[in-house]
């Protein structure tokens, strides 16, 4: 981890540009909420301005947590120059630590801590808007829902990484990234067929919509329990899948 930090600090100007990039993305996200016709309607498909801002904050937090360690580590496996294709995964396999753990948390990008701070800031700004106050119970439900959402995200990324062993050049995570962008907005805003797909097939809705609902107090307790249960199940399934996939790996020499 210290090595990753040193690698990042070598590019100071890059940090300034990354920060500018984060701020612009934040501005675009906020503009995408504020530009909506709030003078005409108070809620869109049941989501008011406060809820949408809170959801944007949750999306930024989840993306930042992913970009911190999980994303870069698992991304390094895939692609034409990835570790599975080139055989560099050997170095990871040879270390005396659990392979799945190491493959998931090898590389760290500490720049994303600023993204994390921005995301938390947006959540704070959303909650500061007039509305129902945040109670301890809601905060607890939010933390549980967020942890479950992150676990589901981890399972999805691990499954993408596992698929890499069969088709090393295909960027499965890119496909997932595209779909994950839809988590910027609540699944309730999309048409019915897409809503179902985003809840049950690629459950990005559970990653951001459910934690945001926990924060604004619109979450049914049953959904929180279901989300937590699903998180455990999916992480377990993805771990087994990853282990099966590892057997496909033929190392650098073959």
């Amino acid at each position: 981890m210290a090595a990753s930090a040193q690698g990042d600090l070598a590019y100071r100007a890059n940090f300034a540009i990354s920060l500018l990039h984060s701020l612009l993305n934040l501005g675009a996200g906020v503009a995408g909420v504020l530009a909506l016709p709030w003078s005409q309607v108070s809620a869109i498909n049941g989501w008011d301005r406060r809820g949408l801002l809170a959801l944007l904050g949750v999306y930024l937090v989840v993306s930042a947590l992913r970009g911190l360690g999980l994303g870069p580590s698992l991304d390094a496996l895939a692609g034409m120059d990835g570790e599975v294709w080139s055989g560099r995964l050997d170095f990871t396999l040879l270390r005396p630590v659990n392979t799945q753990f190491l493959a998931s948390f090898r590389q760290w990008r500490l720049f994303t801590l600023t993204d994390l701070a921005l995301g938390l800031g947006v959540i704070g700004a959303a909650l500061a808007q007039p509305g129902e106050a945040l109670t301890a119970g809601r905060l607890l439900a939010f933390v549980v829902a967020l942890a479950a959402g992150m676990a589901i995200l981890y399972a999805a990324l691990l499954a993408c990484a596992a698929l890499t062993f069969w088709s090393p050049g295909f960027m499965f995570t890119w496909l997932f990234d595209g779909i994950f962008q839809m988590a910027r907005y609540p699944v309730g805003i999309y048409p019915g067929w897409l809503r179902l797909a985003l809840t049950w097939i690629v459950p990005v809705g559970l990653m951001t919509t459910v934690p945001a609902q926990a924060l604004t107090g619109d979450l049914a307790p049953g959904l929180l329990i279901a989300s937590t249960g699903l998180a455990f199940g999916l992480v377990l399934a993805a771990s087994v899948f990853f282990r099966v996939a590892l057997r496909q790996y033929a190392s650098a020499s073959s």
Binding site: A35, W174, P191
Partner: protein, 269 residues
């Protein structure tokens, strides 16, 4: 014995499989890129459709928002200068040497891969947009003469986006991470070029900025023409600004290229 000789099903199947996967490795890579580029406008298509509901927002109803964003997806793909990303790599890796040795300007190398890329990306985006059009029933009422004007604006938008990105990419002569600036440009296009919201619907402060900066003229402007959101006077001002920014981009690209080349040969020579 069949007329084809002994059928080697296993061998045949292996050949089909390997051909298919090798096709998949490369083609799918470009399709995935195009998929990633078309998603942000698609998300805002759904958001604004939901916001419009059964009524109107900013003079547009649900079907018109669908029309706006489906056209925007096409224009965005046509004008997206994906080769700008590779220019920096070519400079850093020294691949520029072989370009410089050819008896034609290096710009042709970039333009030819730009054109080839467009064909591949559009082969993915056009069918997807057509399928979405069938599914979501867009409504487009172009003003008379709007379509040819929009096509002209799209061509200019591509040239502006290409040369604007080119001068940024050419900064790779000096800075190793000039790519980060291209990502910033993409973020500005996302915010100010009509993707997050049609420019006329942006909050007032952003709208004023967007009207003068070059980014709206890379994507949103042609779409606004064809969806009939602009008065003739606004169209004329828009073209004037678009051409002015294009001239600025051309001059900048040329200057940066000249200066960079001097520096490049200084290092190599």
């Amino acid at each position: 014995m069949t007329p084809l000789g002994t059928l080697n099903h296993r061998g045949g199947w292996a050949l089909v499989k390997s051909t298919w996967t090798s096709w998949l490795q490369y083609r799918s890579f470009f399709f995935l890129l195009a998929f990633g580029w078309m998603l942000p406008p698609l998300i805002y298509l759904f958001v604004w459709s939901a916001a419009a509901g059964a009524g109107q927002v900013g003079g547009l109803n649900r079907g018109q928002f669908v029309g706006y964003y489906l056209i925007l997806i096409l224009v965005n793909q046509i004008t997206y200068a994906q080769t700008n990303w590779t220019v920096g790599d070519v400079i850093r890796s020294g691949g520029l040497n072989s370009w410089l040795l050819r008896p034609m300007p290096p710009l042709y190398n970039v333009l030819s891969s730009e054109l080839a890329g467009k064909v591949v990306y559009l082969a993915f985006v056009v069918p997807v947009a057509a399928a979405l059009a069938v599914l979501l029933r867009p409504e487009v009422h172009p003003a008379p003469g709007g379509v040819p004007l929009a096509i002209l604006a799209t061509v200019l938008a591509w040239a502006l986006r290409f040369f604007w990105g080119l001068w940024i990419a050419l900064l790779a002569f000096w800075a190793t991470r000039a790519d980060a600036l291209l990502a910033v440009q993409d973020a500005l296009v996302f915010l100010l070029a009509g993707v997050v919201a049609p420019v006329p619907l942006l909050p007032a402060a952003l709208r004023a900025v967007a009207a003068y900066l070059p980014f709206r003229y890379m994507v949103g402007f042609p779409v606004e023409i064809v969806t009939g959101q602009l008065h003739p006077a606004e169209i004329a001002t828009g073209f004037a600004l678009q051409v002015a920014w294009l001239a600025a981009a051309l001059i900048l690209a040329r200057r940066v290229w000249r200066a960079g080349l001097r520096r490049y040969s200084a290092i190599g020579g």
